[in-house]
C-alpha cells in the first residue's frame, strides 16, 4: 500500500494551481476610472467646441489654414481651450489604451514594452503640443529673421 501522505488543501482542489497575480491596493484604478468619466464630460464640450469652430462655422474645413490658427490662438480663451483639449484628450486616450493593453497583452513583458512605448509617445505629444500652443508666434521668421511666407507679422 502506497503511503504517500499529502498535505491537504485548506480549501478547493488539492493543488490550487491558480492564484491571482499580486494584488495592488491603493486607489490608482479608481482615480483613473473617475478621471475617465470627468475628462469625458469635459471633452464633450471641448471637442464639440473645437469641431464646431473649425469645421462648421465660416468656411468650415476650407477655411483652415495658418492664418486661421493664428487668428484663434491670438485669443487666450482658444489657447486655453486647445491646451485643455490636448491634455485631457491625451491623458484620457492614454489611459484608455493602457486599459486595452492590460486587457490583451498576455505576457508581462509585452505589457511593459507596450505601455513604455505608449507613455513615451504620450509624453512627447503632450510636451510638443504644449510648447506649440505656448510658444506659438504668428510671425515666423527664418534664420535671417525674415518672415516666412504666410507668416503674420504686425510691425
Amino acid at each position: 500500500m502506497a503511503n504517500t501522505e499529502i498535505q491537504a488543501p485548506r480549501s478547493g482542489r488539492i493543488d490550487p494551481k491558480y492564484n491571482r497575480a499580486k494584488t495592488s491596493r491603493g486607489s490608482f484604478e479608481m482615480l483613473a476610472w473617475l478621471f475617465m468619466r470627468l475628462s469625458g464630460v469635459a471633452l464633450v464640450v471641448l471637442i464639440f467646441g473645437h469641431l464646431f469652430a473649425n469645421l462648421m462655422v465660416g468656411d468650415g474645413i476650407n477655411g483652415l489654414d495658418f492664418g486661421f490658427v493664428a487668428g484663434k490662438w491670438a485669443d487666450p480663451v482658444w489657447q486655453f481651450w486647445d491646451l485643455a483639449l490636448l491634455w485631457l484628450a491625451m491623458l484620457h486616450g492614454t489611459n484608455g489604451i493602457r486599459t486595452i493593453i492590460n486587457d490583451y497583452a498576455e505576457k508581462a513583458l509585452t505589457r511593459v514594452w507596450l505601455k513604455g512605448i505608449l507613455y513615451v509617445a504620450t509624453a512627447v505629444i503632450i510636451v510638443l503640443g504644449t510648447l506649440v500652443i505656448f510658444t506659438f508666434d504668428p510671425c515666423l521668421v527664418d534664420a535671417n529673421n525674415v518672415p516666412l511666407p504666410g507668416a503674420i507679422c504686425h510691425a
Binding site: 502506497a2 504517500t4 501522505e5 491537504a8 488543501p9 480549501s11 482542489r13
Partner: protein, 595 residues
C-alpha cells in the same frame, strides 16, 4: 492511490454535511468529501421553509411542534428525537440567522413565519405560522449560508470526490449479558477523484455520512439527478441496516409530468387544489386544515381524484394548484421562484391560470439508523464507534412514516450540528483504526470490471425501466400485487446490471462510469424499499397498502430494519433480512390521525 489522514471525514456537503463541518472543523482536523461542488447540493432546491416555534408572529411553543411532528409521522416517530429537534429548532434558526441567513422579516424586523402543512396550534386546533423562510428559496439560502461559513472557517473540501466505499473492521466483543458479537469499527472511506480518476483513501477516526436522499429510484421526482442513495447503499453493502425504508414521501405539488417541486409554502400562502370540476376537493379529505393537511394525505387525495376520473388535462392525469385568487404582488414577493418554474417549464401564467400538479417522489423518511447523537447503529442498539450519519441519508426517526414540510431543513441543521460536535468529540479521544489490507481493492475491482466489461447492457435503459416500475407500482398506492411485480422487475434488472458496460473508458471526468455505479445503488435501494413495503402489511403515513388500508398498531407500531444478509430470504428476495426495532415513546400515545 493516495492516503490521507483526518480526524473527521464528512461524506457530503449538503446542509447536513456543511452544518457538521462548521462544528467539527473548529474542533478537529476535518475534511469534507463531496461528489458535487458544495453549493450544488440539493439542499439548495428546498423552497418553503424551516420551522421552529419562535412565536414571532403568533403564539407557539416547541411542545406543539413536537406533537405535530409525531402526529404527522403517524406515531412511528422516536419521541425523544422529535423533542430534541423541536426544542433545538429555535437555536438552529437563530444560529443560521447569526451566520447571516437573510430571512424574510416581520414589520418589526424579526424573522417572519408562515404556515405549512401539518403544523398546528395547540395539538391540531388550527394551522400555525411556524415556518421561517426566505421567499421560496429557503434551502438555497441555507446552503449558501452554510457554505459561506465553511469558507469563513477554512473547512477543507475535496470537491468532486465520490465516496464509493466505507472501510470498517470487525472485532470480537461481548455484550453486558456475556453474549459474543462482532463489533464494527470505522477506519475510513475510499473515494474516487472525478477529475483524475484516481482513488484516494481517507483514514479517519470519525466518519459522518451526510450524502442525502435516493429520490432517483423514481421517475417523477423533485430530487436531483445526483440523489442516487449512495450513502445508504454503501452502508447497506457494509452490513449496516437501513431503517424504515418503505416510507417515501410523495410531495403533492410537483409540476405535472416533470416532478419539479412547487413548495407547500404556496398553499401556506393561500393557494388551493382543485379538480377538473373546479372543486376544492381537500375539503372532503381534511375538513379542518384542508389544503394544509400533511403531505401523505394530500398526495393520496390527489391520486384518488385522478383515479376517480376528476383529473384534468387531455389524459386526466393531474389536478390544479390555484393561486389566481391571490394578490399577484403578494405571490411575487413570497413565491417568485416557483411562479417562474410554472412559466418556464409549463408555460402557465400562475397569476391568471391554475398550475397542473401531481405528486412527485420527494423525500426518504428512512435511512441509516442513528441515535439522537447521530451515532450509527449496527443493530437495534449497538453503536458503531466513530460512525455518524445526519440529514436525509439518516434515520434518527424524527419523521416516522411521514415527514412534515420544513422539518427536513430543520433535521439537517439540528442533527448536522450534533453530528459535527459528536464526531469531533469522539475523534479527539480516539485512535485511528488500522486500515484493512488493500482497502481500495473492492473499489478498484468494481471500477475495472465496469471499464473492461464486454457486456451489452447499457445504464440508461436499466435505470429508466427501474424508475418506471417504481413510479407505477411503489408510489402513493401500493398492494401486494404491485409490489410483487416491482420486485420481479427489479430482480430482472439486477441480473442485467451485472452485464452492464460503460462507453467512456477514460480516467478524466468519467461520469459514464459513475452513473453506472450509481445505478447499482439505485437498484439496491429500490429493492430494499419494495421489500420493506411488502413486509409492512398496514397503512401508515407515506406507506399506503390498499390491501391493508388501516393502521395496525398492534403488529406494526415498530420500525423496520433491513439488513443485507446473504443467508436470508425475505418476501422471496434472497440476501435481505427484515427485523424490527421498537419505537421510543415519551409522552404522546398513538391516536387516530385526523385533520
Amino acid at each position: 492511490m493516495q492516503v490521507h489522514k483526518y480526524d473527521v471525514v464528512i461524506v457530503g456537503a449538503g446542509g447536513a454535511g456543511m452544518r457538521a463541518a462548521i462544528e467539527s472543523g473548529q474542533r478537529a482536523r476535518t475534511a469534507v468529501l463531496t461528489k458535487l461542488y458544495p453549493t450544488r447540493s440539493h439542499t439548495g432546491a428546498a423552497q418553503g421553509g424551516m420551522c421552529a416555534a419562535l412565536a414571532n408572529v403568533e403564539e407557539d411553543n416547541w411542545e406543539w411542534h413536537t406533537f405535530d411532528t409525531i402526529k404527522g409521522g403517524d406515531y412511528l416517530v422516536d419521541q425523544d428525537a422529535a423533542e430534541i429537534m423541536a426544542k433545538e429548532a429555535i437555536d438552529a434558526v437563530l444560529d443560521l440567522e447569526k451566520m447571516g441567513l437573510p430571512f424574510n422579516r416581520t414589520p418589526e424586523g424579526k424573522i417572519d413565519q408562515r404556515r405549512f402543512g401539518g403544523h398546528t396550534r395547540d395539538h391540531g386546533k388550527a394551522a400555525v405560522r411556524r415556518a421561517c423562510y426566505a421567499a421560496d428559496r429557503t434551502g438555497h439560502m441555507i446552503l449558501q449560508t452554510l457554505y459561506q461559513n465553511c469558507v469563513k472557517h477554512n473547512v477543507e473540501f475535496y470537491n468532486e470526490y465520490y465516496v464509493l466505499d466505507l472501510l470498517m473492521v470487525e472485532e470480537d466483543a461481548f455484550r453486558e449479558d456475556g453474549t459474543a458479537y462482532k463489533q464494527k469499527r470505522v477506519a475510513g472511506v475510499v473515494s474516487y477523484d472525478l477529475a483524475t480518476g484516481e482513488l484516494h483513501v481517507f483514514q479517519a477516526k470519525s466518519v459522518i455520512f451526510a450524502s442525502g436522499g435516493a429520490g432517483k429510484v423514481f421517475k417523477t421526482t423533485s430530487n436531483a439527478h445526483t440523489l442516487t442513495g449512495d450513502g445508504m447503499g454503501i452502508a447497506f453493502r457494509n452490513g449496516i441496516p437501513l431503517e424504515d425504508m418503505e416510507f417515501f414521501q410523495f410531495h403533492p405539488t410537483g409540476l405535472a409530468g416533470l416532478g419539479i417541486l412547487l413548495t407547500e409554502g404556496a398553499r401556506g400562502e393561500g393557494a388551493i387544489l382543485r379538480n377538473s370540476e373546479g372543486e376544492r376537493f381537500m375539503e372532503r379529505y381534511a375538513p379542518t386544515i384542508k389544503d394544509l393537511a400533511p403531505r401523505d394525505i394530500v398526495a393520496r387525495a390527489m391520486a384518488n381524484e385522478v383515479r376517480e376520473g376528476r383529473g384534468c388535462g387531455p389524459k386526466k392525469d393531474y389536478v390544479l394548484l390555484d393561486l389566481t385568487h391571490l394578490e399577484p404582488a403578494h405571490i411575487e414577493a413570497k413565491l417568485p421562484d416557483i411562479t417562474e418554474f410554472a412559466r418556464t417549464y409549463l408555460g402557465v401564467e400562475p397569476f391568471t391560470d391554475p398550475v397542473p400538479v401531481y405528486p412527485t417522489a420527494h423525500y426518504a423518511m428512512g435511512g441509516i439508523p442513528t441515535n439522537i447523537d447521530t451515532q450509527v447503529l449496527q443493530d437495534n442498539d449497538t453503536i458503531i464507534p466513530g460512525l455518524f450519519a445526519a440529514g436525509e441519508v439518516a434515520c434518527v426517526s424524527v419523521h416516522g412514516s411521514n415527514r412534515l414540510g420544513t422539518n427536513s431543513l430543520l433535521d439537517i441543521n439540528v442533527f448536522g450540528k450534533r453530528a459535527g460536535v459528536s464526531a469531533a468529540k469522539y475523534a479527539l479521544g480516539a485512535d485511528f483504526v488500522e486500515l484493512p489490507e488493500d482497502p481500495e481493492a473492492f473499489t478498484i475491482n468494481q471500477i475495472s470490471s465496469m471499464l473492461t466489461s464486454t457486456g451489452t447492457e447499457r445504464v440508461a435503459p436499466i435505470r429508466a425501466e427501474l424508475q418506471e416500475v417504481m413510479d407505477a407500482n411503489v408510489q402513493v398506492f401500493r398492494d401486494e400485487k404491485s409490489l410483487n411485480e416491482a420486485l420481479e422487475v427489479i430482480e430482472a434488472l439486477r441480473v442485467r446490471y451485472k452485464n452492464v458496460s460503460v462507453q467512456d473508458k477514460g480516467k478524466r471526468f468519467n461520469l459514464d462510469l459513475l452513473e453506472a455505479i450509481e445505478l447499482g445503488f439505485l437498484l439496491d435501494m429500490a429493492e430494499v424499499m419494495t421489500t420493506a413495503a411488502m413486509h409492512r402489511k398496514e397503512s401508515r403515513g407515506g406507506h399506503y397498502r390498499e390491501d391493508y388500508p388501516d393502521r395496525d398498531d398492534e403488529n406494526f407500531m415498530k420500525h423496520s430494519m433491513c439488513y443485507k444478509d446473504d443467508s436470508a430470504t425475505t418476501e422471496g428476495i434472497s440476501g435481505i433480512r427484515m427485523e424490527t426495532k421498537p419505537v421510543i415513546f415519551t409522552r404522546y400515545q398513538p391516536m387516530e390521525r385526523k385533520y
